[in-house]
């Protein structure tokens, strides 16, 4: 009892100390910051370079790891995370120091080739680890600024919605939602920028109250489209939405306050939220269960960037101040990621950037794996282009923090090749008998394993509910093969041609396995199986190097798990609904043609209808398919009525709205559903906090399921 209580009091005192130091005024003085940094660097140098034997290094690694796991569970806030990062860096640098001083005396050319290849991949990994720590050291968690200026002095805003070949059904809702933004009507103009020059778009814009703009060429695609519109408009600010990003009414109220407070602020970005599952979520059935690929970026990375004044423009769901945007020549056209490049240019001119982690718009995720990969190829290529033509490490105007954050954003997309190296590295020994380390296997284990595990739990702590452990590996593995080539080509020649991956779009009528897309992983997977077989033979009938074979075998096993889960993503599952549904429980009232009514809640809504949760004991025979009904929806005391018909009966009732709903009714409907200020914010960051072991089990389960599926598909094909 007394030991226990004294332990808790020690923990409590330590907690107070850590929190006290983390939030101390001490850090406000740059001299003190420099002195303490130098002091710590000296200590760091000693800890990193002190030589230890195998057993001592093993003990040191394990003890540091255990201390870090203890800190993970203490309420030390950001201070605790910084300590974990520091411990992780200590172990990592010890490994690096040892790697450079002890492991590179290769005996054969083959060893050296494989050895240096692996080393370069490792160096890339370390660089990303360190930059990642810098970037996410202390996310700003910026709050929305309330507008206090009298309404008569509010600035004017032009909402720009560029479109090229998307369907009018998708664009309609975006335009209508933009038209209902909560902003003085005389200071809000909505422009539909149609690069497709379509007559029905023009007609719709006229009918709805938006302004239709077009141009006689399609130069520089979206960037060119936006720039052409900038020349024809004159609002103080421009809000940019992709044509499928439906804004909530509060978008400008939430974002504009920051501009009025900070005259040097050039941009406010909000998250891209998707109300339909991306191919990973759909094919792996992880929608709203496991954080998706984008959540890490908008949940953590941008927020982390913000503390360094380095959050960047992502092309949509953002507001920019017109004057600075025009000062840098409008939206950048030199690269295919015009958004990030524009942000970089604004930062170079000394303008401030802001990120607000409040989803105020939502859109459609990519529809299938092929188009998803196509989009990522574009990002990767664009980032590599910026790295070449306007490298953030060079040139004027950026702070060190901004340079590091931008570099990390770009380097991030170089993961393709290193990832492929890690996926194939164990074959060097298993197939060719090459030794990539000139050190004993046990030494490699005691030096390498603790930092890998520590980095893993540190990142798990930082990323928490925005990314689950090991899923990162799955996401990257899927894209690795495809982004490697465009990134390398863009590095060699930033002006090289476009890579066209056709987006199929629409619905997927039948479940199918996209062998074409999955081929690289299936081949890698087969290689891994062979590797496992080699390993088994070595371990069973081996001659002295059984441990090395075993360690390589475990590495192969891990790769197999990640690869099999990754290959599952190509299993394109059926996608029946053309209009994705948003889960929401809104109060509605249904009136039947016979005058009877039902008060109930929605289970979901889409742009064309509603799903209803009907109380268990309501007579179901009431709701015949095709029955005409009126649906009342509510916003505060306001009630709006929409005519529709019953499209689905049973446990849930589906209602389709009539095609001939007037534009005013559609606008009202947008306000009652997609436009509600809290629609997306409610769902934001609601995923479970990461539990690394549980997460690993999940990945294994997906992998195992996939292998069964692959074999079955393979049999069916032959």
């Amino acid at each position: 009892m007394s030991i226990e209580s004294s332990m808790t009091s020690v923990t409590a005192r330590l907690t107070r100390l850590v929190r006290g130091i983390s939030y101390s005024k001490f850090w406000n003085y740059s001299v003190l910051r420099v002195i303490s940094t130098l002091f710590v660097l000296c200590l760091f140098g000693v800890v990193v370079t002190v030589p230890l034997g195998m057993v001592e290094q093993g003990i040191f690694g394990v003890v540091i790891f255990l201390i870090a796991t203890k800190i993970k569970n203490l309420p030390w806030g950001r201070g605790g995370i910084l300590i974990m990062m520091s411990l992780s860096l200590v172990l990592t640098f010890r490994y690096l120091y040892w790697r450079f001083t002890e492991t590179l005396n290769f005996e054969t050319v083959l060893d050296a080739c494989f050895g240096y290849t692996l080393l370069s991949a490792e160096l890339y990994g370390f660089l990303c680890l360190i930059l990642g720590y810098v970037q996410t050291a202390w996310p700003l968690e910026r709050k929305s600024v309330v507008i206090t200026t009298p309404m008569s002095e509010w600035p004017s805003v032009d909402v720009l919605i560029p479109t090229y070949n998307e369907s009018l059904d998708v664009v309609k809702l975006t335009v209508l939602a933009a038209l209902t933004l909560d902003w003085p009507a005389d200071k809000l103009r909505v422009y539909l920028l149609d690069d497709g020059r379509r007559e029905d778009f023009k007609q719709f814009a006229q009918d709805s109250g938006a302004i239709y703009l077009t141009r006689d060429n399609n130069l520089h695609a979206k960037a060119g489209n936006l720039n052409a519109a900038l020349a024809k408009t004159n609002g103080d600010f421009v809000a940019i939405f992709d044509c499928d990003h439906i804004a909530t009414r509060s978008f400008l109220q939430i974002t504009m306050g920051s501009f009025l407070k900070d005259p040097k602020l050039a941009m406010v970005q909000t998250p891209h939220y998707f109300f339909s599952p991306d191919p990973f979520e759909r094919n792996l059935k992880t929608f709203r269960v496991i954080p998706n690929e984008g959540e890490l970026f908008y949940g953590l990375v941008q927020d982390g960037n913000d503390v360094w004044n380095a959050s960047f423009f992502c092309g949509s769901c953002a507001v920019l101040r017109r004057a600075p945007l025009e000062e840098v020549g409008g939206v950048a056209v030199e690269t295919v990621t015009e958004d990030a490049h524009t942000a970089l240019k604004l930062s170079r001119r000394g303008y401030n950037m802001a990120y607000l982690a409040i989803p105020q718009a939502a859109g459609l995720a990519t529809e299938n794996l092929a188009s998803h990969i196509g989009q990522r190829i574009r990002w990767a290529r664009g980032m590599a282009q910026i790295f070449r033509v306007d490298n953030p490490l060079l040139g004027r105007g950026l702070t060190l923090g901004q340079r590091l954050c931008y570099v990390n954003a770009m380097l991030h997309f170089f993961y393709g090749l290193p990832r492929l190296i890690f996926l194939t590295a164990p074959f060097a020994y298993l197939f060719f008998g090459a030794h990539v380390f000139s050190a004993s296997t046990m030494m490699v284990v005691v030096y390498a394993l603790p930092p890998i595990c520590l980095a893993s739990i540190t990142n798990s702590t930082i990323q928490g509910k925005f990314r689950h452990s090991f899923w990162n590996e799955v996401y990257e593995t899927v894209l690795a093969w495809y982004i490697t080539r465009p990134v390398l080509l863009a590095m060699i020649n930033p002006k090289s041609g476009l890579f066209n991956v056709t987006a199929k779009g629409g619905i997927i009528e039948k479940e199918y396995y996209d062998f074409k897309i999955a081929a690289p992983y299936v081949i890698l997977l087969l290689m891994n199986f062979v590797g496992l077989a080699f390993c088994l033979v070595d371990v069973t009938f081996g001659h002295g190097e059984r441990l090395t074979a075993l360690v390589n075998g475990l590495w192969v096993l891990y790769n197999t798990i990640i690869l099999s889960a990754s290959a599952f993503v190509a299993n394109e599952s059926k996608q029946i609904r053309q209009t994705p549904r948003v889960t929401a429980d809104l109060n509605v009232m249904i009136t039947k043609s016979n005058g009877r009514t039902l008060m109930c809640q929605t289970s979901d809504f889409s742009r064309s209808g509603l799903g209803l949760k009907v109380p268990a004991n309501v007579d179901m025979s009431w709701w015949d398919i095709g029955e005409q009904v009126n649906v009342s929806m509510f916003r505060g005391e306001k009630e709006s009525v929409f005519p529709g018909r019953v499209s689905k009966s049973g446990k849930t009732i589906g209602i389709f709205f009539k095609e001939d709903m007037s534009l005013d009714q559609r606008k009202e409907f947008a306000m009652m559903t997609f436009g509600r200020a809290d629609t997306w914010a409610r769902m934001w960051g609601k995923s479970e906090v990461d539990k690394p072991l549980a997460s690993f089990k999940e990945v294994i389960a997906f992998g195992a399921g996939n292998i069964v599926q692959l074999v079955r598909n393979g049999l069916r094909r032959s």
Binding site: M589, R596, T597, M599, E637
Partner: protein
């Protein structure tokens, strides 16, 4: 005793339906409720499944000098109802003369009944200005004016308001005057507009709404309680809201019946 008078400037607005459903809702909340029919049509009893053979009521009781207590009947569903009673024309005129002579007769009679102090007395009245309306307003602690969302109802508002002003607002034991718009249908432009207009004029809190719902007349026609006939219909929902607001009006939370 909390007296709620249900009044209207015009006939056919669903006053009796509102009285009956409100009474029943309050009783379902565990409150003591007495529904009084002050309308010579004697129709309220139909809503409570009171047998048509019972002829007694407050009109005859008054003429015979009897305590009204003795005329309270239990409806088929357990509600306490005080019907107007069946009287011939001469008796009705005599009764109305009595009412004219003593403007506070209703209140005095209610006091003589010695009801529990928490009882809510819901009084249904005939439409328009009448001796009954004056009595109901003189006795009321709160008045609920029922109207339809149409021009005719809207036109009667000034008249009824002035009566409420004359009979009620001067009394310290009068809490408040509320409006209930019956059969609102948002599909109809006028219906929505008048509702919005009244809510703007008197304030959101003072204007209660019952929406158009076929379940309400259907429940009545099949002699069933609305909330049991269709628990999830809008009528049930709306009446529940009104019940809640009535409770707030008299500051009565759900006191469970002890007897």
């Amino acid at each position: 005793m909390n007296i709620l008078s249900i009044v209207s400037g015009k006939g056919g607005v669903g006053k009796t339906t509102v009285s009956a459903n409100l009474s029943r809702g309050l009783r379902q909340q565990g409150l003591r409720v007495l529904s009084i029919d002050l309308d010579p049509q004697n129709g309220l009893r139909l809503h409570f499944n009171v047998s048509a053979r019972s002829l007694g009521g407050l009109s005859r009781a008054t003429l015979e000098g009897e305590n009204w207590r003795n005329c309270v009947v239990q409806g088929g569903l357990g509600d306490s109802v005080l019907p107007y009673g069946m009287v011939n024309e001469d008796d009705r005129m005599d009764f109305e003369q009595v009412l004219r002579n003593n403007p506070n007769l209703l209140r005095e009679q209610l006091e003589r009944m010695e009801l529990h102090k928490d009882t809510i007395v819901v009084i249904d009245t005939p439409p328009g200005a009448s001796v009954y309306l004056s009595q109901a307003l003189n006795a009321a602690n709160a008045a609920l004016t029922v109207l339809l969302p149409d021009a005719a109802s809207y036109a009667t508002l000034p008249k009824i308001s002035s009566l409420i002003h004359k009979h009620c607002l001067i009394r310290p034991d009068f809490y408040s005057s509320k409006y209930l718009i019956n059969q609102v249908d948002r599909i109809k432009q006028l219906s929505g507009d008048i509702t919005d207009l009244l809510q703007a004029q008197f304030g959101q809190d003072s204007v209660w709404v019952i929406h158009q719902d076929q379940a309400i007349p259907e429940a009545f026609a099949s002699s069933r309680v609305l909330s049991e006939y269709d628990a999830y219909c809008r009528g049930t929902h709306d009446f529940n809201q009104c019940v809640l607001k009535t409770q707030q009006l008299f500051d009565l939370s759900d006191l469970k019946e002890t007897v």
